[in-house]
Symmetry: C2
Subunit: 217 residues, 2 copies
DNA sequence: TAGATTGTTAATCGATTAACAATC
DNA sequence: TAGATTGTTAATCGATTAACAATC
């Protein structure tokens, strides 16, 4: 079998930048800008044109010499790479304030992910609906996942139950975990799962660090 | 004036790792482990001992040859570096579901940051209290910040109002913005402010990418 | 064809790792 | 003192940038 560009692994550094390209390309589309050169985009995004060309070339030649990049086409390609068209289905484990906030936020729909249900163990919220999605009893999670395609489990339960949530998600057979707790989910414990942690707390601490170092200048 | 280690700028790569050290050290303290070598910590965290020693040495010699690191002391130092003891005060701009969720979450208190008020323009929520914090009318923001010390503004309003929120925060005189919208806040427009964006959506997209690339293996 | 801009190779820069002397 | 482990320098590795030939 021939090995083409798409088969080779792309470095994490590049992957991390893809969502940002996605955001900028969508902005350009919204502004009806249909053509852009790596230099123009580089100016907008405050990176080098070289980096943009290198990054995009990890996935294939999306541009055209002498012309630049067709924004619609490039946006489509990046969307494809990031799985925006896969229509991934997500469940939210932990229907407290954060879980409910996410359920009704555009963060999923904007990226082609759909929330199909929430789960909790609190009788006060079980049975409720958030943005048209039902909050079910946590004990129904396996049953639900057998009867519905579920790709992603979002962990929005208290940090002390993070691992319990991951176990539930794992045994329910999801492909990935989107972790909002402050605990790390050990990848070794869940070899079949892909895990992404938001770690909002880390972000807050970096903000505090930056504030302090600016003050001490 | 003598230039000491603390004055030299530390690379962003190192700073990004500090909150993780903070989390692991707190875990160790909770388990009453009061002494640790770079090798042991490296095993726990799945990084190299060399990296740990290099990272910590950017801020000073926190260890002791032949002994290792005193966990209590090191935790204190990292906390200090990250500003955990500064008692920073935060306001939340946008008291929708996400804003209210954050207001009542432990993400702030665990890191020594205090939420002192929320702001919104929706009469339905103005006057309400969340976890003991008042939701005030957005028009009172300047007045509030004049009469209270406010270091951080948390942006949890709809993305289309991100820049409006940043302007409000800026004119109210906060030091830093913690941005939860999907829009980027241009640092050039707010030279006096420190900005940290969570970009949850980017995290979700990377999760989707990883799921896809695992499937295509 | 001439001009523009990509795709790609080569050069540079920075970050990570290895090694070891200093020292508790 | 001997053993352990740091702090720090030197070597390696990877990521970013610069340069330019390919080509639209």
């Amino acid at each position: 079998m021939q090995k083409n560009k798409k088969d080779t692994t792309v470095s994490a550094a590049v992957i991390k930048r893809l969502p940002r390209y996605f955001r900028y390309l969508r902005m350009l589309l919204n502004e009806n800008i249909l053509r852009i050169s790596s230099n123009e985009l580089a100016d907008m995004m405050d990176v080098t044109a070289s980096q943009i060309r290198q990054d995009l070339n990890c996935f294939g030649g999306f541009g055209q010499q002498g012309y630049g990049y067709n924004v619609t086409y490039l946006y489509g390609k990046i969307s494809e790479i990031l799985g925006v068209n896969e229509n991934y289905q997500a469940i939210i484990i932990g229907a407290g304030r954060l879980g409910q906030a996410l359920a009704s936020s555009p963060v999923f729909t904007k990226r082609g992910v759909e929330v199909c249900a929430l789960f909790d163990n609190n009788p006060q919220v079980i049975g409720k609906e958030v943005d048209g999605k039902k909050i079910l009893d946590i004990s129904e999670i396996n049953n639900f996942c057998e009867n519905n395609i579920v790709d992603i489990a979002v962990l929005t339960l208290p940090s002390e139950f993070a691992d319990k949530g991951a176990q539930l998600a794992s045994s329910a057979g999801v492909k990935g975990i989107w972790n909002f707790t402050s605990k790390e989910i050990s990848a070794e414990n869940y070899p079949d799962l892909t895990i992404q942690s938001v770690h909002m707390g880390d972000s807050l601490m970096m903000l505090c660090y930056d504030i302090r170092s600016k003050e001490n200048e």
